[in-house]
Amino acid sequence: MLDLPLWALASKLAGKELTSVEVTQACLSRIAATDPKVGAFLRVDPEGALSAARAADASASRGPLHGVPVALKDNLLTAGVETTAGSQILAGFVPPTDATVTARLKAAGAVIVGKTNLDEFAMGSSTESSAFQKTKNPYALERTPGGSSGGSAAAVAARQVFGALGSDTGGSIRQPAALCNVVGLKPTWGRVSRSGVVAYASSLDQVGPLARSVRDAALLLQVIAGRDAHDATSADVAVPDFAATLEDGVKGLRIGLPREYFVEGMDPEVAAAIRDAAKTLEAAGATVREVSLPHTKHALAAYYVIAPAEASSNLARYDGVRFGHRAKDVKQLKDLYERSRAEGFGPEVKRRIMLGTFALSAGYHDAYYVKAQQVRTLIRRDFDQAFADVDVVLSAASPTCAWLLGEKLDDPLAMYLMDVLTLPTNLAGLPGLSVPTAKSSGGLPIGAQLIGKPFDEATLLRAARALERERTLDAWSPAL
């Protein structure tokens, strides 16, 4: 039962072949059995989940996710359930409201089983900067699941839940999806509401699904996408029926392979897997050509100015005054700020706050922040030009397979490089998706990334489905 894709489970629940209570119970048992090894969950909510499951079984009204157990990254607010964003500074914080995505999942009938681990405030590529625990890759427990949505990716891969939501600021959905053999989709910026998402970098953050099949990802996106009155930047753009075009194939689809995305230091096996994916899609009727995104080499630098700049601002509210961690025995206001923040934030968060504060400071603002915004415009223009000739861009989601835990922990720059293929998409605000495409010689998952035009998630899903159909990697479950 736990190996079923979400869409198949949903249909069995709808047909009353299964009850939500038994399915939820199975997930809870699976978590109890496997999570001591995987560490995907920061918090499991058995009472809440079972009570939602019972309500679902008793209820006549049927949403598209009726009774389906799912998990949420712990930077998505859940009313009445602690939400920490993986940070000590929010330990014990119980939000008064649901994030819009949480509310939409609930309204669709989903059962929220728990909150998954993440890099602190979603800042990281390995889920190791979480203040609370390290998550392991279910396919290789000594390795990272990627990050920052490593908990959500691992939970889905480990068959603990049928789907999960993550957030993606520079690759935090697609990269762990690639490393954990699951599908991960970062929607167009503005496609999904950010209301109730603990902000990292507002102009880059976007919530999206992690799931075991492309159809599952489409189903989850369908539920969470669309204009929200609580987020002024959520786009008033019609949401198409993603499932309707899913099986339409790739005949005539123009696919671009960006030459700048085959970077130095990339695992040759990963590069080969991507060229192989291109061949597979070509065989299915797509045309493949090389494209150029010439400003790609500046994306990492621009990202590590813009994202920390916004982070330094977004995290100013954690001051020990109204919620979250508050230093004890302080006499002066300055001490309250300095000590609460010094005690509450971990090293990676502090590093980014300092980077961002510096980049916005008088005298440096133009050289860093303004320059980075100019680079951002150039990167967006690169994509605009590429999309004049192709419908989607195909690349790797991560330059390597899952690396060993601790391997890059003391080398921030090496860690930052793990996002080099995903973060240009965030800078350009485009939708990106990672779909399993190969198993490495070392037995590790490799994901292919598809990048699309603004609000064209439907084409990404359709192309990913075409690849998935040929690969059948969704049947590969980890031995836990």
Binding site: P96, V197, V198, A232, E310, A316, L360
Partner: protein, 477 residues
């Protein structure tokens, strides 16, 4: 010598907008509520809470821009201004920095006939309040005011004296109040002002170093603070010293300004565009709609009262001081059809007195303009005396009674019927030959005696004008 120096003053006004909810949240804005009750997760800066713009604020900002003759920008931008303080829950204030909603307008000072340019008007969030409790040494924070919409109106340094500064502020306040965007209350802080003051040697074209004055909460204090600061600058410069650029606080009790923070201590606000809000777009249609609903402004109204209604500057000033009052005046004036001065006198006298006494608002009076017109016509026609008119108006004001009914019930009508009057006069002339002779001999003051006698005979209800005319005619023979 202070006269060797030319003061240069620029003002920044913060005006709270009269909206029922906040700039970016649905929380209420009423003054004086229980601390921390007008708050939502947005006001409190909770994780994940996002700002959503209150459209009413934009309408009011456009209105203000037009009233102050500014250009309204079709595209403006929100920015974050960062500083750590407990009254700022997010650690930043959402404001407009590089691209404000309105630019380049101005007002004209009436005394000097001088134009004061307004450089920009932008929208921003107000901060909360820190309440320092001396008794137990605690500082408490009230976040009710957080996120209340403010307009910051920044003038060019075009003002040259404290008096000009105060006149500018009064004009500004009158405009804001008259167009319904601000309540003009300096004491409660809904209309606040910071002053940038410097001096330069007369004839110089280079401005001196400026100081920013804060804590100016009445027109009197503003004048006092600016004059004090000008004197301080002159003293320092005359003594061979230099002025340091800094922010200074006006101490009302000691009548002095003192340094609050120097330029070196100035915060680096690390402005950058607010990523949680799209650009603020205003359509030409919205601007046109605001223009169409803009009322006549106080200065224009005063000019019209003086030029068209032939009222004095003083009368025009009193009548236009409050929008409801001038509206009532104009409605009554239109209905009465007598010369405006007569209506103006009534308004400055009786109407204003009764409004003040009763606390009734001009828009809520019980009498109608038609009734007011009827009253004035009764006086004008001599049906009742001016004094009786006041008595009638008192009743109309309190009960909304018809003037004719009050006149009849109280028997206030004057005798203007010449037949009835002639009879009384003829009897008096017949009964007082010596006085008649005196009058005819040129002792015209005897007329007063006769008028008094006629009035006495008619129990005070005779029409003095008619009586005078008839008496003169008959006495002359």
């Amino acid at each position: 010598m202070i006269s060797d120096f030319q003061p240069v003053i620029g003002l920044e006004v913060h005006a709270q907008l009269l909206t029922t909810s906040k700039l970016f949240s649905t929380a209420g804005t009423t003054f004086g509520a229980e601390p921390n009750t007008h708050t939502t997760p947005v006001c409190l800066g909770f994780p994940g809470a996002l700002p959503v713009l209150n459209a009413r604020v934009v309408e009011l900002a456009i209105r203000t821009g037009l009233a102050l003759e500014c250009r309204v920008n079709e595209k403006s931008e929100w920015s974050r201004k960062h500083y750590f303080y407990p009254d700022s829950p997010k650690g930043y204030q959402i404001t407009q920095y590089e691209f404000p909603i309105c630019e380049w307008g101005g007002v004209t000072l009436e005394l000097a006939g001088k134009r004061v340019r307004i450089r920009r008007i932008h929208i921003e969030e107000d901060a909360g309040k820190s309440v320092h409790d001396a008794a137990d040494g605690l500082t408490l924070v009230d976040l009710n005011r957080v996120g209340t919409p403010l307009l910051e109106i920044v003038s060019e340094p075009d003002l040259r004296s404290a008096d000009e500064a105060v006149e500018y502020l009064k004009i500004l306040r009158d405009v804001l109040v008259s167009i319904g965007v601000n309540d003009g209350n300096l004491e409660e802080g809904s209309f606040r002002c910071d002053a940038n003051v410097s001096v330069m040697r007369k004839g110089s074209e280079v401005y001196g170093t400026r100081c920013e004055l804060k804590n100016l909460n009445s027109f009197r204090n503003i004048k006092l603070a600016i004059d004090t600061e000008i004197a301080r600058h002159v003293d320092v410069l005359e003594g061979g010293g230099t002025i340091a650029q800094e922010t200074r606080l006006f101490d009302v009790n000691r009548g002095e300004t003192r340094s609050m923070r120097s330029k070196e201590d100035a915060q680096d606000y690390r402005y950058f565009p607010e990523p949680d809000l799209p650009l603020l777009l205003v359509t030409p249609e919205e601007i046109a709609r605001a223009k169409a609903t803009l009322p006549e402004l106080p200065q224009a109204k005063r000019r019209r009262y003086v030029e068209r209604l032939k009222l004095t500057e003083y009368d025009a000033g009193v009548l236009t001081a409050e929008r409801g009052f001038s509206e009532l005046f104009e409605r009554c004036q239109a209905a009465a059809g007598v010369e405006p001065k007569k209506v103006a006198n009534w308004f400055i006298g009786e109407v204003s007195r009764l409004l003040n006494e009763s606390g009734v608002k001009p828009g809520e009076v019980k009498f109608s303009p038609a009734q007011f017109a009827a009253l004035l016509m009764a006086i004008d026609a001599g049906t009742i005396s001016q004094n009786a008119g006041k008595e009638v108006f008192g009743e109309m004001f309190h009960s909304g009674a018809e003037p004719a009914e009050v006149i009849a019930r109280k028997g206030l009508a004057q005798v203007s019927d010449t037949g009835a009057l002639e009879k009384v006069i003829d009897e008096l002339i017949a009964a007082n030959p010596p006085n008649v002779a005196a009058y005819r001999a040129g002792k015209v003051q005897v007329l007063g005696f006769f008028v008094g006698q006629v009035m006495k005979a008619l129990k005070g209800k005779g029409n003095p004008k008619v009586i005078n005319e008839l008496l003169e005619q008959k006495l002359k023979g």
